[in-house]
Structures are given as structure tokens and as C-alpha cells.
Symmetry: D3
Subunit: 131 residues, 6 copies
């Protein structure tokens, strides 16, 4: 039997961010169960599940966008964890954020690097990266 | 002898976007020569030239950011061309833009897809992509 | 039999914007069929179809958001048509846009009013509105 | 005698947000008295006082805009309180914020819902809402 | 007799942008007379008329903000004209826009420079500026 | 011998923000040494060092832009300190921020004034300013 969008989304959410993403959805579902369902179904069940782009590339795109927009700090942190989880190297992540100094300015990159420092600290990745 | 930042940037600009990027810089230099120099030196000579992230990944990040910000239409078009030039597949590009519906909303993705249609038209890529 | 999300979305899209919205989706489907499907399913099949908020209120919210963001001109025009279609009065629409001068600044409101003038012209609504 | 813009604004501010808005203006006036005056006069004395749009609709527009912009957290919280105060139902408010996932992306809606949870907590409204 | 806010605003609008600003307000008043009044009264009658900051500095601030936001092209052009009108040198204006590459990214600065080129062309200022 | 971009940038950073800016760069260099170098070289060594615009005017532009964008709180605070350091009067700074209510809306100005209150407190400047 074909999995539903929700089942596919939950599996994909796990693939993208391990337990972290699942816990976010569970917390959200306590207060806003319908939106928690949509979050699993559309972003993860529909979009992330598409075959044409790898998870590493998807996380690069998402980290870049959230860093450039600069108004979604909790989601940026979550997707920095996710980027590590799907196999982006710490160096690649720092490079994506530094690239945003060009697209969106130095404040966007600096705030992105603050989030990186926090997330790498939680993930036990020492900074500065060996260069 | 080590190339200057400008030389390295010009070479990188060419690698990223072939003649298209160089023409943009030359046109800019007619009116704003100092800023044309900075554009070659910092984004391309410093950032794009760094080894830790591939050009494909850099263009995925830049396309994502510009599409999400939604206020840089000429640069988005340029970087859609660049994404093709550095080897992103048409499918990957469309996936990155669709991913932005999650990060930045459906209008951002729809306007990104309009730019994709224009750029793919110029590049002779037929739409819809074979699915 | 329960309608699918797509069927429900298409019906809702029609309710929101008459033939205008349907034509936008059909044009989109020529180039990006999957995203056209998502656009029908998630925004219209899932969100617009929810019972807890009237269509008039939804369009007030959408017009306000797009006007404040200021980077989604084609979608703002479409939703100004939609606002008229679901029964917002011309006065209400102008008030929503003027309110955005407070939230997002005078340029956002001025560009919103330019879009209003264009859409009201297409809809045969004379300006200035009788006061 | 006709009330001045300031008097009209203060009365309107009270109508929109009860004591909460008045306290914000009083605190602001301690440090920036001229801007406190402008805040009463233009947004409330001029715009909110206009007859063509109800207060419920104005708050729907403002909540939508602030949630979509994503860079005005204190004002979003204030206007979530105001939306309740002028008679928007909790369900309507949650619907407006979920609608922003379409206009401005899932992060905007998720951060809006976090603000909703905080404000509803302060207002004694239990979540999840009965569905 | 003390001038009204409207009279003061109209005079200030003239001081800021000569006939250009007045024409914009007159055109706006054809369709949206109330908002044209607010535009004269609040931004120009209240804010621009304040003594604590020179008009040159105000225009530097406004050009910087509109260039950084990147979603208000017509207003950016108007205020580039205004900046010249109140005595900013062409060099100062170009410097402000280039400074935005730091605050808001290279696309914001590049689009700002495109607007500068257009406005300087209309004003008969040759580019590149003698350096 | 001509100073390098880095040397020129460090000197300019000191001129702009005294010890505050230098400390930010040193903290950044602990985790992200390459980006700390870029931050000294491009914004300060290249852009701030240009002769065509005074430091007071540059800080007015930067404060305006960061306040209008509303997504760079730590950088706004830093540049409010810098504006004082290069000789902007407290009144001029408050005027720039109030001007942003016109460009970017009242929430942007209100959040800018909160940052001003914090920074003026740190700098020992009493509010309200004598008017």
C-alpha cells in the first residue's frame, strides 16, 4: 500500500533532521495539531520527498534562504542541525553562510555565523574549523 | 607570481557565468568603475574562489537566497544562467525554486519560476521538464 | 465520495478568484505541472478551504501581507481582484492598503495603491471612491 | 468642539487594545515623547479612526502583515492581543497566521504561532482550540 | 497664524524635491485624495519638518533605507532626485549606495546603482563621476 | 609603504567604533578567522575608507538601513554606538530612526527606538533628549 503524504513526510522529516525535527512537530502538535499535520505533509511529504534534488542540496538551499531572510532564527538553527545530519560538512555550511554576505549583506552573514557557532557547539564541532 | 584578487575574481566570474557575468561587470564599469572592481574582487575573488564548497553548491545557495528575498530580479536571472553554466541540472534548479515555497511562501516560488521560464527559454531548455 | 484535495482546491480557487485564478494555474501547469498541482492543493485545497475564517477575511489578510512585503507584485494584483470577487468593498480594500503605511511604511502603501488603481481600472471601478 | 487628532487617537488606541496599547504609549513617551505623540496621532488618530473598515478587519490585516514581515515580534504580540480585544475569535487569529504559510513561508507562520501561543497563554485561552 | 500641518508639509515637500514631489502628490490625489493628504501631512509636515536633522542627512537616510529594502523602486528614484535637490553631491549619493553592499548585499547595491544611473541621466550628470 | 587593505580596515574600524568594533572582530576571529578578515578588509578597508562621504554620513546611512530592514538587531546596536562615536548628535540619531517610520513603518521605528534607548543608556545619554 502506498504511504500517505503524512507517513512519507514523517519519514522524510526523520531523514532530514533525525529526532530534532520530529520533536519540533510533536511540540507544535500540542498547540496547533492541524498546522503540525500540514508541516509534515507539504514541506516534507510533498517537497522534500521529491527525487530531483539531494537532501544535501536541499539543506544548502534552505540554510542559504533562511540566513539571507534573517527573520527566522529558530528555523535557521534547526536547518543548520539538519544540514549536518544529511551530510553537509561543517566547512560547507560555513561557506554557505559566508556566501550570504554577498547576497544579503554582512549583518545577515554575521547573524548566520552566530547561529552556526551555537549549533556547532551543540553538535560538538570545534571552531575554528581546521583550515 | 600569485594572481591578484581581481585576476582571480575575473577568472572565477568566468567560471561561474561564462561571458554573461563578464559582460555585466563591463557594463557596470562604464558607469561605476570602482564598484565593478569590488564586485570582481570580493564576491568572486574572495568568496567564490574559496575551496570548501563547490560551484554547483554555491549557485544552489545563491539562487535559493535571491528567490527567497524576492527583491533582486536581475541578479536572480543571472544566477539561474550561472547555475546552468556550472552544471546544475534544470531539474535541480526547479527543485530549489519550489523548495522556496516552504521557506519564503508561494509568491516567492511563483516569481522564481517565472524567472526560470525566462532563463530556460533563453537557454533553449524546453518546459515542462520530462518528469 | 469525498473530493480530493485537488478537487477541493480547484473549487476554492474558483470561489476566491473566479476564472482569473484558474487561468493562472493553467498557465503555470504548461511549464511547471507539479507546482501547479501543489498550488491548487496546499493553499487552496488545505488552507483556503478551512472553515474558521471567511473568504473576505482571508483576502484582507493576504492583500495586507503582500502589500507589506512589497516583493510580490503579480500576486498582489491577483489578490486585489480576488478581494473584490469575494465581496470586499473597494473602500475596504483601499483602507487595508492605507493601513500598511503604518505597518510597512509609505512606499509599501504607495506601491499598493498603484496596484489598486490598476486593478480597479480593469474592474471598472472609478477612482476616487465616493467619500 | 471637535476632538483633536491626539484625542481621537488615544480613544481609538483604547478601543483597539484596551489598557495594553495605552501603557505602551506611556512607556514610549518617557523616552521619546514626540514619537509617542506621532504614534497616537497618525496610526490611531488618522488611520484606525477611518470609517471604511471595521476594527476586526484592521487587526486581521495588521496581524497578517506583521506575521509575514517577521521582523516585528513585539508589535505582533501587541496586535494579537488587540485582535482578541476587538472581537476576532481565537480560531480566526490562528487561521490568519496559518494563511501566512502560503504568503510568506512556513517559518513566518511557525514564528507567528509561537507568538499566538504566548499571547493566548496570557489571555487564558487554552490550546489546542476545540476543533 | 501658524501654518497647518498640510501647509507646512507642502512647503517641505517642495524644499525636498522641487516640483517632482508635488507632481507625485497631485497625481496621487486624483485617485486617493485622503492618502495624498496623509503623505503631505505626516512624512513631510511632521517628520521632514523637524529641526534636529538636516535635509541632506534625511535624504541620505532615506536613500540608504530604500536601497537596502530593495522593494520600493519608484520611491528610490524619487529620493535620488531629492537627494540631488537638497544638495547631496553625486559622489555622496554613489557612496551611500555602495555602502549598502555591506548592509544589504551586492544585489541591493547593484539595483541601487541602476536607479542612480537612470536618475543621473535625467539630471544630466555624466557617469563615471570624475574620481 | 602603502598599508594593506587589512591595516587600513582595522584603522578605519577603530575610527568608526573605537574599541567596540575591534572587540567584535576579535571575538569573531576566534571562531571564523577568515570571515573576520573579510569584515575588516571589505566593509572597512574598502568601503568605509573611501573619501567621498564623511563617517557621520556613512553611519546615518547604515543606521537607517539596519533600522529599516529590522532583522539585524546586534548590528544596529553596534552602529548606534558608532554613530555617536563619529560625532552624530543624539538628536540626529533619534531623528534618523523616526524617519524610518515613513520608509519602513512604525514597528521598524519603534524597534529602532528600543535599540536607541539601550545604547544611549550604555553611553550615559539621558532620555528624553532636551527638546
Amino acid at each position: 500500500m502506498k504511504p500517505t503524504r503524512y507517513e512519507r513526510g514523517l519519514k522524510q522529516l526523520s531523514a532530514v533532521d533525525g529526532d530534532g525535527g520530529v520533536r519540533v512537530v510533536e511540540a507544535l502538535a500540542q498547540s496547533f495539531p492541524d498546522f503540525a499535520t500540514y508541516l509534515v505533509e507539504y514541506p516534507f511529504g510533498d517537497i522534500y520527498s521529491r527525487p530531483g534534488l539531494g537532501l544535501r542540496e536541499r539543506e544548502i538551499a534552505v540554510v542559504a534562504a533562511l540566513c539571507a531572510m534573517g527573520n527566522a532564527a529558530p528555523q535557521l538553527k534547526l536547518h543548520l542541525h539538519a544540514a549536518l545530519h544529511v551530510g553537509c560538512t561543517p566547512t560547507e555550511i560555513v561557506e554557505v553562510v559566508m556566501q550570504m554576505s554577498v547576497c544579503a549583506g554582512f549583518p545577515a552573514a554575521l547573524n548566520g555565523l552566530s547561529a552556526v557557532r551555537e549549533v556547532f557547539g551543540e553538535a560538538g564541532i570545534a571552531l575554528p574549523l581546521p583550515g
